[in-house]
C-alpha cells in the first residue's frame, strides 16, 4: 500500500513538471503543443551530452542542459509557432506534432535507438515501512515540490508572474491593461520548456534515456493539464497527482476478495490485466470531464 503511494508520487512528480509548462503554453497560445514533451527528452540528452561527451560533473551538466532546453523552447517558437500565430489552433497542433517527430528523429539519428544512462543515481533502495524507495525517487519528488513552490512564488509574488497569470487567463484583457504579451510569451516558453527539461533529467535519472521517453508520457501529461483546466498550473499539478495515482492504484487493487464473495473466483489475487494499464487513467479522465466539463478547477462560463 505504501509502495503504491511512493510509486504514485514519483510518477506524479515527473508528470507534473511537464504538465504545468504545457498548460501555461496551451492557454496563452491557444493550442495543444504536442512537441512539449520533447523538451523533456532534450533535457535528458543534453545532460547526457554535457556529462559524458564534455565530461562535466552531473550537477553542472544538468543545470546547463535545463538552461539549454529553456532557450530551445523559445527557438522553436520563433522558428515554427511564431509564423503561425494568427492561424487556427489545429494548424498549430499539427505543426507541433510534426515538430515532435522531427526532434525525436534527431536523437535517434545521433544516439541511436538504444537506452543510455547517467553514471550517477544508482543507490540501493531504502526500506521504509515495508516499502521500497530509492534516493533518486526521493530526489525526484523533492525537486518537483521545490520547483512547484518556486513557480507558485513566481506566479504570485513577482510582476512577471502576475502578468503571466493574467495573460494565461485572458490575454485580450491583459493586453488591454498594458501587459506586453510577446514578452510574456517568451517567458512562458522559457519557463515551461525549462521545467520540462527538469522533468527529463529526473526521468532519466530514475529510469533511462531513449528517444521515445517524451512521447511515451504524452497522453498522461495532456490528460493531467486538461483535467485541471487549461491555464491553471495548480490544476495541472492536481491532474498529475490523479494520473500518477490512477496508474498505480488501478493496477494495484486486488479485486479477489470482492469477487470471491460473489463466487466469481477462487484465486487469491485478481487484478485488472496489466495490458489495460493506460486505460485506467483515461477512464478517470473521461469520468471527471463528464462530471465537471470545465475541468476540475474550471469556472463555469455560462
Amino acid at each position: 500500500m505504501l509502495q503504491i503511494v511512493f510509486d504514485s508520487l514519483t510518477r506524479a512528480a515527473e508528470l507534473s513538471l511537464m504538465a504545468v509548462g504545457l498548460t501555461m503554453v496551451y492557454s496563452l497560445l491557444r493550442f495543444p503543443n504536442f512537441a512539449h514533451v520533447e523538451s523533456a527528452t532534450i533535457g535528458a540528452y543534453a545532460a547526457l551530452f554535457f556529462s559524458t561527451t564534455l565530461g562535466l560533473a552531473f550537477l553542472p551538466a544538468a543545470v546547463l542542459a535545463i538552461l539549454l532546453t529553456a532557450v530551445l523552447g523559445v527557438v522553436f517558437d520563433k522558428l515554427v509557432f511564431g509564423h503561425l500565430r494568427d492561424r487556427s489552433d489545429i494548424i498549430l497542433m499539427i505543426a507541433s506534432f510534426a515538430l515532435g517527430i522531427g526532434i525525436r528523429q534527431v536523437f535517434l539519428l545521433f544516439w541511436g535507438p538504444r537506452p543510455h544512462f547517467f553514471s550517477v543515481g544508482w543507490g540501493s533502495a531504502l526500506s521504509i515501512g515495508g516499502a521500497h524507495i530509492t534516493p533518486v525517487q526521493i530526489g525526484v519528488i523533492v525537486t518537483a515540490v521545490v520547483c512547484m513552490l518556486l513557480f507558485h512564488l513566481l506566479l504570485n509574488r513577482t510582476r512577471m508572474g502576475i502578468a503571466m497569470r493574467a495573460s494565461a487567463d485572458n490575454s485580450v484583457l491583459a493586453e488591454a491593461s498594458g501587459i506586453r504579451t510577446e514578452r510574456i510569451v517568451t517567458a512562458v516558453w522559457l519557463l515551461g520548456s525549462g521545467m520540462a527539461g527538469v522533468a527529463g533529467v529526473l526521468l532519466a535519472l530514475d529510469t533511462q534515456i531513449q528517444p521515445n521517453m517524451g512521447v511515451a508520457v504524452i497522453i498522461p501529461v495532456f490528460g493531467a493539464a486538461i483535467m485541471g483546466r487549461i491555464g491553471n498550473p495548480y490544476g495541472a499539478m492536481a491532474g498529475a497527482l490523479i494520473f500518477g495515482f490512477a496508474e498505480n492504484f488501478g493496477l494495484g487493487i486486488n479485486w479477489a476478495p470482492l469477487l470471491q464473495t460473489v463466487g466469481l473466483t477462487s484465486a487469491d489475487f485478481a487484478f485488472i490485466p496489466a495490458g489495460y494499464k493506460e486505460a485506467v487513467p483515461f477512464a478517470v479522465l473521461i469520468v471527471v470531464l463528464i462530471w465537471r466539463p470545465q475541468g476540475l478547477f474550471g469556472r463555469v462560463t455560462r
Binding site: 515554427v80 487556427s88 489545429i90 506534432f97 510534426a98 517527430i101 539519428l109
Partner: protein, 308 residues
C-alpha cells in the same frame, strides 16, 4: 510498378474516405476529434468479427461495421457533446485508446486470433469472381466508387440547411444558439455520420488487407489523417482529398530517395522522417489556406447602392 501504383491509389481512396469523414466532423462542424482512428478500428474489427465468428456475408458485415462505427460516434458524443473543444478532444483520444486496448487484450475464439496477434485470413469480397491479377483492379474500383459516393454525400450534406448549421457551428456556438438551433443534437449527428463513413473506410481496409491488428490504430494514425485534412485545407471536401494525395505521396515517394542518396539505412530512416516533418511544417507556414482553400459562398447577390 503498375501494381504499386494501383495499391497506392486504393490506399488513397480508402484514406480519402477517412479524411472526408474527419472533415465532416472538423472542417464543417469544428469538432476536434483526436481519436478519429477509433471509428476506422471499429468498422474494421466489427466487420471482421461478423464474418469470421458469425459467418455473415461480407457486404452485410461491412455495412455492420459502418453502422457500428456510427453508433460509437453517437454514444461517444451523447455525454460529451457539451464539452468545450479542447476537453472534448482529449476525451476522444482517451476513448480511442481504451477501444484499442480492448482489442489488444481480447481474443476471438482461439487464443491466437485477435489480441496482439491480430486476425488474419480475413475473407475478401468477390474473391472468387475476380482472381489473381484482376483482383487489385476490382478493389481499386470498389474503393474509388465508395469514395465518390462518400464525397457526393459530403457535398450534399454541406449544401443542406443542416450543413449550413454545421458550418455556422464551426465558427462558434453563439450564433446558432441565439437562433434557437439544436446545437448538441447537430453535433451528435455529425459524429454519427462522420463516424459511419470512417467505419466504412475501416471495413474496406481490413478486407483489402486481409489482416487486422491493434497496431494499425495507434494515435499516430489519427494525426496522419489530421495532416491530410489540414494540409489540404480544412472545410473543402476537394481540399482534403488533395491533402490525402499529398501526404500519402510524400510518405511513399520519400522511400525512393535512397536510390538517389547512398546513405546508411540507420541514417536514412530518421532522415526521411525529419524530411517529412519539415515538409509538413513548411506547407503549414507557406500555404495559409491549405492546398485547396475553401471557397466562401455567397448566398445572395450583393445589392449595390443602399437599401436592405
Amino acid at each position: 510498378m503498375i501494381q504499386f501504383l494501383i495499391y497506392l491509389l486504393t490506399i488513397i481512396s480508402i484514406w480519402g474516405i477517412l479524411a472526408l469523414s474527419l472533415n465532416i466532423q472538423y472542417g464543417i462542424t469544428g469538432l476536434v476529434n483526436l481519436g478519429h482512428i477509433a471509428f476506422f478500428m471499429i468498422g474494421g474489427y466489427v466487420s471482421t468479427v461478423l464474418v469470421i465468428l458469425l459467418g455473415w456475408p461480407i457486404g452485410l458485415a461491412m455495412a455492420g461495421g459502418t453502422v457500428a462505427a456510427g453508433l460509437y460516434g453517437i454514444v461517444l458524443a451523447l455525454p460529451t457533446s457539451g464539452l468545450q473543444q479542447d476537453y472534448w478532444a482529449i476525451c476522444t483520444l482517451a476513448a480511442a485508446e481504451i477501444v484499442r486496448m480492448f482489442f489488444l487484450n481480447t481474443t476471438f475464439g482461439d487464443p491466437y486470433t485477435g489480441g496482439s496477434f491480430g486476425v488474419s485470413d480475413i475473407p475478401q469480397p468477390l474473391h472468387d469472381v475476380f482472381s489473381g491479377a484482376a483482383y487489385p483492379y476490382f478493389y481499386l474500383v470498389l474503393s474509388a466508387v465508395c469514395l465518390l459516393a462518400c464525397w457526393a454525400l459530403a457535398e450534399w450534406i454541406t449544401s443542406t440547411p443542416y450543413g449550413r448549421l454545421l458550418k455556422a457551428l464551426r465558427e462558434g456556438d453563439e450564433v446558432p444558439l441565439a437562433l434557437g438551433k439544436q446545437v448538441r443534437s447537430a453535433r451528435i449527428r455529425a459524429m454519427g455520420v462522420g463516424g459511419a463513413l470512417a467505419g466504412l473506410a475501416g471495413a474496406l481496409f481490413v478486407h483489402f488487407n486481409a489482416f487486422v491488428s491493434p497496431n494499425y490504430f495507434l494515435p499516430i494514425e489519427t494525426f496522419l489523417v489530421w495532416a491530410m485534412v489540414i494540409v489540404g485545407g480544412g472545410g473543402s471536401h476537394r481540399g482534403v482529398l488533395v491533402g490525402t494525395v499529398v501526404i500519402q505521396t510524400v510518405f511513399t515517394s520519400s522511400r525512393f530517395l535512397k536510390g538517389v542518396l547512398p546513405v546508411d539505412p540507420s541514417t536514412l530512416g530518421p532522415a526521411r522522417m525529419i524530411l517529412i516533418a519539415v515538409l509538413v511544417i513548411s506547407v503549414l507556414i507557406f500555404l495559409p489556406d491549405g492546398v485547396v482553400p475553401e471557397r466562401k459562398r455567397l448566398y445572395s447577390p450583393v445589392r449595390r447602392g443602399g437599401g436592405t
